[in-house]
């Protein structure tokens, strides 16, 4: 029970700190509530020598909401259906091309660097949302926990670095920014995209759904 409480409180602390950093964009990005909660909980687990299994069991009630939250992404999509139907070309083609480029690099670069086969398999599904990466681990033969962790970390990294990167690239349209975040940074990227506005969030959830399908098809095609 204490791990459940600690996780909720660490995340809430992250949100509170972020609200107090409205005028400091860089610090605000670095103090992502997911990242802060992960680091705090991780440190306490290591200090108390608590196993990850114990922690996973204690926080099952949180994980149980992951699937309905993914389903809930249909709500912003439905609210903006008119606009999204008009912009399908940008969203579908942009998202699919981005995810494919990400998967290609995540597949080829580990091979070039000579990383172990297990890590190669886990990295290849990183652009898909963590529940998808978990299910795909059964097909690719990757260690499920590693595949999920790298997928989540990839989303976290994406949420941290991509908004500024896209701005530097001159990508300013909310739909283009959203689809770019969703195509490679899935759930956490979508949470970050929603901070920029509902339009960005909706485009990101389309990108996330599309990325799940693209990565699944790539894995199926290679399998």
């Amino acid at each position: 029970m204490i791990w459940f409480a600690l996780t909720l409180l660490a995340f809430a602390l992250g949100v509170v700190l972020q609200l107090h950093l409205q005028s400091r964009p860089l610090l605000r990005t670095l103090l992502n509530p997911t990242l802060l909660a992960t680091v705090l909980v991780g440190i306490v687990l290591l200090l108390t020598r608590t196993s990850y299994d114990t922690y996973t069991r204690a926080t099952e009630p949180i994980s149980a909401f992951l699937a309905p939250a993914v389903v809930a992404l249909a709500v912003p999509l439905y609210r903006l259906r008119g606009l999204l139907a008009r912009q399908w070309r940008a969203l579908l083609l942009g998202g699919a091309a981005g995810t494919l480029a990400g998967v290609a690099l995540d597949t080829l670069l580990p091979r070039a660097l000579g990383l172990s086969p297990d890590v190669q398999r886990a990295l290849a599904t990183a652009p898909a949302t963590s529940p998808v990466a978990l299910q795909l681990a059964d097909i690719t033969g990757a260690t499920p926990a590693l595949a999920a962790t790298l997928a989540v970390l990839s989303g976290l990294l994406g949420a941290l670095i991509l908004p500024a990167f896209l701005t530097r690239l001159g990508v300013r349209h909310p739909l283009a920014r959203g689809i770019a975040l969703g195509a490679v940074a899935h759930g956490i990227g979508t949470a970050r995209a929603r901070e920029e506005g509902e339009l960005t969030g909706a485009a990101s959830s389309i990108g996330m759904g599309l990325a799940a399908l693209v990565v699944t098809l790539v894995v199926a095609a290679r399998g």
């Binding site: 660490a10 997911t34 909660a37 992960t38 991780g42 990850y52 922690y55 996973t56 909401f65 992951l66 699937a67 309905p68 939250a69 993914v70 389903v71 809930a72 249909a74 999509l77 609210r79 008009r86 912009q87 070309r89 940008a90 942009g94 998202g95 091309a97 981005g98 480029a101 990400g102 690099l105 995540d106 670069l109 580990p110 660097l113 990383l115 990295l123 998808v132 299910q135 059964d138 926990a145 999920a148 970390l153 990839s154 990294l157 991509l162 990167f165 896209l166 690239l169 001159g170 990508v171 283009a176 770019a180 195509a183 490679v184 940074a185 759930g187 949470a191 759904g209 799940a212 699944t216």
Partner: protein
């Protein structure tokens, strides 16, 4: 129907919405198990819910409070999984290479998606 749902206590509206959302997640999961397709049930559930909303089988106001609540704390729901990183601290210096690969994939993928979508957006 709108007035009937609005008359419900707020907590019950959340419970109603959660029931529908979890139901669609279960539906997607069950369908994929039946068809033996390697697709995640929750993503299939999202597509099914979108179709149900479009055909008015499900009304938006049934699920809005629950959906907005869940999406508002999306970042929390990933924490139990991200904490799993502590199991792989033993990989040590290799983490640098893993992060390098992820950053490279993120920058190329998001760059391609953002650039292409930006060009294809209709004003």
């Amino acid at each position: 129907m709108t007035s009937q749902t609005a008359a419900l206590p707020p907590a019950v509206r959340v419970v109603l919405g959660l029931g529908v959302l979890v139901g669609f997640a279960a539906l997607g999961e069950g369908l994929m198990r039946l068809l033996h397709w390697p697709l995640p049930g929750s993503v299939v559930g999202m597509v099914l819910l979108l179709l149900a909303l479009g055909s008015r089988v499900v009304r938006l106001h049934w699920i809005e409070p629950a959906a907005d609540g869940l999406l508002g704390i999306l970042g929390l729901l990933f924490v139990p999984a991200t904490v799993g990183a502590i199991q792989f601290l033993g990989a040590g210096a290799e983490w640098g290479l893993w992060l390098l690969v992820m950053v490279a994939g993120l920058l190329l993928g998001a760059g391609v998606a953002g650039w292409l979508a930006g060009r294809l957006v209709r004003d």
